[in-house]
Amino acid sequence: MVRHFRPAAVLVLLFTLLTGLALPLGFVGLGRVVAPFAANGSLLRADGQVIGSRLIGQNVTEPGYFHPRPSAITTTDAKGNTVPDPYDADNSGASNLAPTSKALIERVKAAMAALGQPRVPADMVTTSASGLDPDISPENALLQIPRIAAARGLPPAALRALVAAHTTGRALGLFGAPRVNVLELNLALATLRRK
């Protein structure tokens, strides 16, 4: 085997230079030219300040905004305890709770009670795979309209139109599921208020 170490070392080195350095850096450069917004993380700005990424959900709890799905991301606090840290985009992850987990059932029960709805679409009380899901289902958004209308003093019809305008259908009419980007929807809310 020893006589193979020279070719092995040389090839590993060459492919490291090619696929580990030249190509990734080349694509960083290409990304800047071809799709700078996307290659940089699809960051949205207001008055020069980054307010988030179009692709990454953020934690919203005020009654006057559309709320994202629950997020299972946790962090470790100063005392070393694991505490919830929803939509911490420096991290990612899921609950990994089993379908027969007592913790899952209790969590969903509590979420249902907080919402005060007898029936909800599944995405409204379940945590996503990434903990950063930027989308909710259109049914989820519609169910939140009474709360937002009351908090902002807006007519529900205007909010329903806004949700409809921000609903993305299946890609090519076939792939994925219909969805609403929560951050974009909430940004549009602000413009509605200014009118």
Partner: protein
């Protein structure tokens, strides 16, 4: 289940077939050295390495060269992970990995497993991701494909003493297949929204005035090869479920497609190289039938949802959404689950731990079969060829014919080696699970109680042994027992399976190529496809039935009875 869901599944599979067929012809041309548009680059590589690409190797030399490259590359990655704090491209200032975790990670990537006992965004610098993991994604994929090509050569002619040159194979596969495909896919992914940047994490002030740190990095290129090379190691903890790894349904179509297109193409390459395309179609048909049946089972289970949540008033129209992303929905999540565990990929777009019990059983079972539907790049083909040899042997015993496959007589030596390879999987998975569950440390790792806890541990050993890398993520994997134990399982599953198959190739190559006669059992028709599926399920799968009964099957029935843990 909806018609739309089934259409999503079938259109993606049709796209795979449409490209895998011509790609198989191209792969055959690459394997036979007929593609050489980068000859000048190749020559430089060979000259610096001091090798003659036309120097033939016997199976032992080939295996030794393969092991030398992998051993060296393993040591290099270990050192990179231990000293990443001193290396460039570390904008977030990430420190070194612990020796134990670095060992587990280096083995994980050199074996094409990409089991991740760490979270990428907090444990790895951009540099480690690029020149560490990305390079391993290329070379471990090329290693698998080279081993498969070498085995196919054994069937091509009679009386061969040599089976090609490992250095030439690995160079050509990387230059002519993996890099061009990864490059095209990278551009598509960037356009879809996958970042490719060296800038550090972004800092945002959210709508409610909170501070949000958004991790990003040079993701797109690594994402492409992670799927094409059936590696599966995510840039982020959430893997391909992370919106930066897989932002839209269309990016997901391509990511799903890219996991299985090369494995299927390699089967068609076999048909081309042995000058009998129908032989390739037969193997592909067996793989595809198991894959489609598996996708249907997962989709049915996940679309039905969790009855325990339905009782509380959670709508069932979207299916089981715990651990799934809205943009993908249940159908795409189900298909990805089987394409990632039917191959050795192990990337995930939905969290398998939160699947319904039967939805979680299927990916486990596909890994336990040894990942041959269609399997990892290269490893799927040589794995299925092992089963094909066993199938003709079983058929030979039943009807009293001398077993042959693709014109080569299959004798005791090959069958012993084939059984050795298959048994290594079962021994590693079942003994590993049983041992871990009998230790305090193993039980302490479990994230869920009841039968699901057993499923978590069984899944981990299945995934590591089959070099998959996906997990029932509730399991705390960074413990002494699991870091070392699963590292051993990964090495056994990769090289303990690969070396016997290379030995089979060496043995078969030396035999004369027999002309087809009236006594030859046809291996290109529906009868053989059925037999092959039967051997895969009975010989490969049945040994895991008792363990599966105690885990997911038991959980399914207690779930129906309304019991929680």
């Amino acid at each position: 289940m909806t018609l739309n869901g089934w259409m999503q599944i079938f259109v993606i599979l049709a796209l795979v077939a449409a490209v895998a067929l011509p790609l198989g012809t191209y792969l055959a041309a690459v394997a036979e050295g007929r593609v050489n548009f980068l000859r000048p680059v190749e020559s430089v590589f060979y000259r610096l390495a001091g090798v003659d690409p036309d120097e033939p190797m016997g199976w032992k030399t080939y295996a030794a060269a393969l092991m030398a490259l992998n051993l060296l590359h393993f040591v290099l990655l270990y050192l990179m992970l231990r000293f990443q704090q001193f290396l460039p491209f570390n904008p977030a200032g990430i420190g070194p990995m612990s020796p134990r975790l670095a060992l587990n990670t280096a083995i994980s990537f050199v074996t094409n497993t990409n089991w991740q006992a760490y979270a990428g965004e907090t444990a790895l610098s951009y540099g480690s991701q690029m020149w560490g993991l990305t390079v391993h994604n290329f070379l471990s994929a090329a290693t698998g494909i080279a081993a498969a090509i070498m085995m196919v050569r054994a069937f091509c002619a009679g009386g061969l003493k040599t089976l090609g040159n490992f250095w030439a194979d690995i160079t050509r596969i990387t230059l002519y297949v993996l890099i061009p495909m990864a490059a095209a896919m990278t551009v598509f992914l960037i356009i879809c929204g996958v970042p490719q940047t060296l800038a550090g994490p972004a800092h945002a002030i959210t709508l409610e005035g909170a501070h949000q740190v958004i991790a990003r990095g040079p993701i797109a290129f690594q994402e492409a090869i992670k799927l094409l090379g059936t590696n599966g190691g995510g840039f982020f903890n959430a893997n391909s479920a992370h919106p930066f790894e897989n932002p839209t349904p269309l990016s997901n179509v391509v990511e799903t497609w890219s996991e299985i297109v090369i494995p299927f193409a390699l089967v068609f390459m076999l048909g081309r190289m042995v000058r009998a395309p129908r032989q390739g179609y037969a193997i592909a048909a067996a793989m595809a039938m198991i894959l489609v049946a598996a996708a249907g089972c997962v989709y049915a289970a996940e679309a039905h949802g969790n009855p325990l949540l339905a009782h509380l008033g959670v709508g069932h129209a979207m299916g089981n959404m715990e651990g799934k992303e809205v943009r993908f929905g249940t159908a795409m999540s189900s298909l990805f689950t089987v394409t990632t565990t039917g191959t050795s990929d192990g990337a995930v777009i939905a969290m398998h731990d939160s699947f319904t019990p039967l939805g979680g059983l299927v990916p486990m079972f596909l890994m336990e079969l040894g990942e041959i539907t269609p399997g990892g790049v290269g490893s799927g083909l040589y794995g299925m060829l092992v089963y094909a040899l066993l199938a003709v042997f079983v058929a030979g015993l039943m009807v009293g014919r001398t077993p042959e496959y693709l014109g080569k007589k299959v004798q005791a030596k090959e069958i012993k080696l084939a059984m050795l390879a298959v048994l290594i999987l079962g021994i590693s998975i079942l003994c590993g699970t049983a041992y871990a569950l009998n230790t305090r440390s193993g039980l302490g790792s479990l994230g869920n109680a009841g039968p699901h806890g057993l499923s978590e541990m069984l899944y981990a050993w299945s995934s590591a042994t089959a070099n998959n890398g996906s997990a029932f993520g509730g399991l705390s994997a960074d413990t002494k027992l699991l870091d070392y134990g699963l590292a051993l399982a990964m090495v056994l599953g990769r090289f303990g399976f690969m070396i016997p198959t290379l030995a089979i190739a060496g043995s078969l190559a030396a035999k004369p190529k027999l002309p087809e006669s009236a006594g030859t059992f046809p291996t290109d028709g529906p009868l053989f496809v059925g037999l092959l599926i039967g051997v895969v399920i009975i010989l490969g799968g049945l040994q895991f039935l008792p363990a599966l009964s105690l885990g997911p099957i038991a959980e399914h029935f207690v779930m129906l009875a309304g019991k929680v843990f």
